[in-house]
Structures are given as C-alpha cells and as structure tokens.
C-alpha cells in the first residue's frame, strides 16, 4: 500500500478519465494516471513510460533502471508478491464469469 510498485504503461484506455493499462511483472491492470499528466505531459504521451503505482494510481514517473531496482527490493521485502497478488485478485475468475469481489 505505502511502498507502491513499478509498472509500465502499455495502453491508454480512456483519455478523458485518464485511465491506462499498466504491465506489472507480466500482470496487466487498469490504473488511473491523473497524477502524472499535465499540459506538457499529456495522457497520450505516457505509453511506454515507467511509473510507480500506489493502490491503482500512478503517482510518479520513474526511469527504467529505477523501476528495475525498486522491483528487486520489493521482491526481497516480500511486498512485490503481495502487491501483485492483490492486483491480480479481481481477475482470477474472469472469463465469462463475474469475479468474486464484484459478484
């Protein structure tokens, strides 16, 4: 929750609502990117960028090396696994079926 996790923006889902899909160690998840965009840095320009994600919100742009090092320390702390597990949870039973938490 507090340490966040690095991910890479792979696709813009909704330009107006500032939603994008990120890839976090192979897990895809939609996040809100309102906090990392502005006039000089519009939504469309974010694809390919690395960001630090806290509870579903990209909070900071980081470079690829910072992302890799942060991921490594989070893995060593055991936080990365927990975070990715939490991100993944809603998707586990998708595929036609509604997920448990959405029922």
């Amino acid at each position: 929750m507090c340490l966040g996790i690095p991910g890479r923006i792979v696709k813009i889902d909704d330009e107006a609502r500032k939603l994008a899909t990120v890839d976090v160690s192979g897990v895809k998840r939609q996040v809100n990117i309102a906090c990392i965009v502005n006039d000089e840095h519009p939504v469309a320009s974010c694809v390919g960028e690395w960001v630090l994600i806290h509870v579903g919100f990209a909070m900071s742009r980081i470079d690829a090396q910072e992302a890799a090092e942060t991921l490594k320390i989070l893995t060593e702390l055991g936080e990365a696994q927990a975070e990715i597990e939490a991100m993944r949870r809603p998707r586990r039973r998708l595929g036609g079926q509604r997920h448990e938490i959405y029922r």
Binding site: C2, L3, C35, M59, E100, Y102
Partner: protein, 377 residues
C-alpha cells in the same frame, strides 16, 4: 553482517558504513549518548529490518522506529466502527487487505467476515467504485486508510463517483496527515531525537517544503530517504553530516522520485476533497490535533460517517500492550512484556504486530540479530 551479502552493491554499502563510522567518531554528542534517528515511515522500518541495517551501524546510532505505518496506528474504536458498518445487511464493506487483521475491541474485519459480514478485499478504491456500479441495490463503503501517499487515490475516486453521479458509494475516511504527527512527536517530552529519515512516498505527494518547520523551529535535520538499503545508509550519513556541521536542513536523498514541490495534481485533489479534523485518535499515541482529515461539505454524501450512525467510541488499548511506548521509541519491541509471547504475528494483540511495516512484526520476523544484541543491554 550476514544480511549484507544480499546487497547488490556490497562494496558501496561497506564503504558507506565505514564513512558513517568515521563521521560518528567526530561527533562529540555521540560519546555521551547514542544519536537517535527516527525513520518516520513503515516502509523504511521494513527495509531496515529486512537488510539488518541496525546491526551494521555503529552502536552510537540508535534508530527509532516511528509511527509511519497507517495500519499500525489505527485505534481499536475505529476498527469497531468499521465492523459496525460492515455488519449492516445493506453494506458491502471494501478494504485493503492490510487492514483485515487489525484487532478491534471485539473482533477484526477478518473475524467479522467469517461471521458473515460482506467484506471484500480490494486493491484500489477504484475497485470499490466498480463494485458500487455493479451492485446498485447495495451500499458500498470503502475504508480510506493511509497518509498522503494514498490520500489522493481516495480523493480522485470520490471525484470520479461525483462526476458519474454514483449514489451508493461512500468512504469511511481514516486518512491521516504526517506534519501534525511529526509536530506531536517533536513536542513529546519523553523523546530525544537528533534527526529524521523523512518518508519517501508521502513526500512524493507533499514535497519537502512542509517539513521546513522541523529544521527552522525544532532545529532538527531531516533527510527524505529512498527505501533501498543504500538509500537508507546514505540518508543516515547525510543526517550525521548535518549533526556534525551543526546544521538543520531538509535534504532530499530520494530526488529521483520526490520532487521538491510534490505532486500538483494529487495535492489539488486532496485540497478539493478533504479538510482537517480538529483532532484524530491514534493507537498508542492518543489524540493528535489536526492529524486526520474528513470529507468537505460538498462531498458529504460520500462520507460514511455521516451516512451511518457509528458507535464512534474511544476504546483504550489493552493495558498490557506497550504499543505507544514502542511507537514513540521509548522502548524496543522486545521489551514489551507481550512480545513474542501473547502477541505474535499469528495472534496480534497490538497493531504493530499486524503489518510487516510495524516495528514489532519486523523485529519478530527479522529481529534475531538485533535481539541478540539486546541481550547484552
């Protein structure tokens, strides 16, 4: 020094430790008593224990593990309020997994869920809003928790709910704010702190300017620090350097993530949605003025506190628990009578034992190294 093998830059760490030792030996105060440096953030606490950083430092440096884990400082009365909301039949209560096991006076959210309350763990407040859209006949309550790091995410979710006109979504707001908390710590008569490691991700949102008062009025150095072992060591070195030179400044070691003026978009969402509470109750620390936020009047319809009648009583921490003393750094976790006996990560009595970022749980998991040293005290 067994943990040091895991450093990716082992040599750099060894060099830094040498430099820290050299620096400490030139600080006269360190000959009289240990220098107390508080890491404010639970993420730092976790990292310090995981990498055995305390054990590598010269004995003249004492790290004090501050109150920066929002799960750990959640008072029992607030957990009881959560349970009361969650047990209403119309409610789907949504929370981060971290909060599930925090003990209330009767039960935790985990136990309430086992007893049949509809409680769902979510990764993000956005998930809670999605649940609200998909269950229009139910009341969805999100448990808003955390310092400034997660405060903007809850605010942006409320703004989104407002713009969509969602009517069955509300937030039980327990967000807390770091600056009044630091002020309370600095005013505390039992504490003798010589410097701070500033929280990395809170600062990513608020920037470094809000800490200026620490340097200016309390004349204490603070270095905003990253979470990697080398970051922590370097930041400790920077604090010591200030002590040695008789300076008190706010420095930013984590500039690669923390801009000095914070995150403008996040701050404007926070300012739009929240106002300061007169006071907020903390587990172990008691009531701290202006340390919590609530929703502003225009967002009253998203405020679970106004939507549901809550017991809202203050419940005293169990008397044998010494969480408050640990939080203030007056005692070390293993000095609590309950540590490792009645209170363990499996059966936590105090919240510091619940989260991996709590000092007690961190000591329990990784603390053997330091506990050995404690045996000698």
């Amino acid at each position: 020094m067994k943990y040091i093998d895991e450093f990716r830059d082992r040599e750099k760490a060894a060099v830094l430790i040498k430099e820290i030792e050299a620096l400490v030996s030139t600080i006269p105060l360190a000959k009289e008593r240990p220098l107390n440096i508080m890491e404010v953030c639970g993420g730092h606490t976790h990292s310090i224990f995981r990498y055995g950083i305390e054990g590598m430092l010269p004995k003249e440096i004492d790290l004090v593990h501050g109150p920066g884990c929002p799960v750990c400082v959640l008072p029992m009365g607030r957990v009881d309020d959560c349970v009361a909301i969650a047990e209403r039949p119309e409610v789907i209560f949504t929370t981060f997994g971290d909060a599930m096991r925090v003990p209330g006076s009767k039960k935790s959210l985990m136990q309430a869920k086992a007893d049949g309350a509809d409680i769902r763990m979510v990764y993000s407040p956005m998930d809670a809003l999605t649940i609200a859209r998909m269950n229009p006949d139910r009341e969805i309550v999100f448990f808003g928790l955390g310092f400034e790091t997660t405060m903007p995410s809850t605010a942006l979710t409320i703004l989104q709910a407002a713009s969509e006109g969602v009517t069955n979504f509300s937030v039980f707001c327990n967000h807390i704010t770091i600056v009044p908390t630091l002020k309370a710590i600095l005013e505390s008569p039992d504490l003798h702190l010589d410097g701070f490691l500033g929280p990395g991700h809170v600062s990513m949102v608020i920037g470094t300017a809000p800490y200026e008062f620490i340097a200016r009025f309390y004349k204490k150095p603070m270095v905003v620090a990253g979470f990697e072992p080398l970051d922590v060591l370097q930041s400790i070195w920077m604090v010591l350097k200030q002590i040695k030179e008789g300076r008190a400044d706010i420095e930013n070691q984590y500039a690669r993530v923390v801009p000095d003026d914070g995150n403008a978009a996040a701050l404007s969402a926070v300012a739009e949605v929240y106002e300061l509470r007169e006071f907020f109750e903390w587990r172990g620390l008691g009531s701290i003025d202006h340390s919590g936020v609530r929703l502003r009047e225009p967002y009253a319809r998203f405020d679970a506190e106004r939507r549901f009648a809550l017991p809202n009583v203050t419940i005293a921490d169990p008397t044998a628990c010494q969480c408050g003393e640990v939080l203030k750094g007056m005692i070390k976790p293993w000095q609590c009578k309950l540590f490792g006996a009645a209170c363990t990560p499996e059966t936590p009595l105090g919240a510091l034992m619940v989260s991996a970022e709590g000092a007690c749980s961190a000591y329990y998991q990784y603390g053997s190294l330091k506990a050995e040293r404690a045996g000698a005290i």
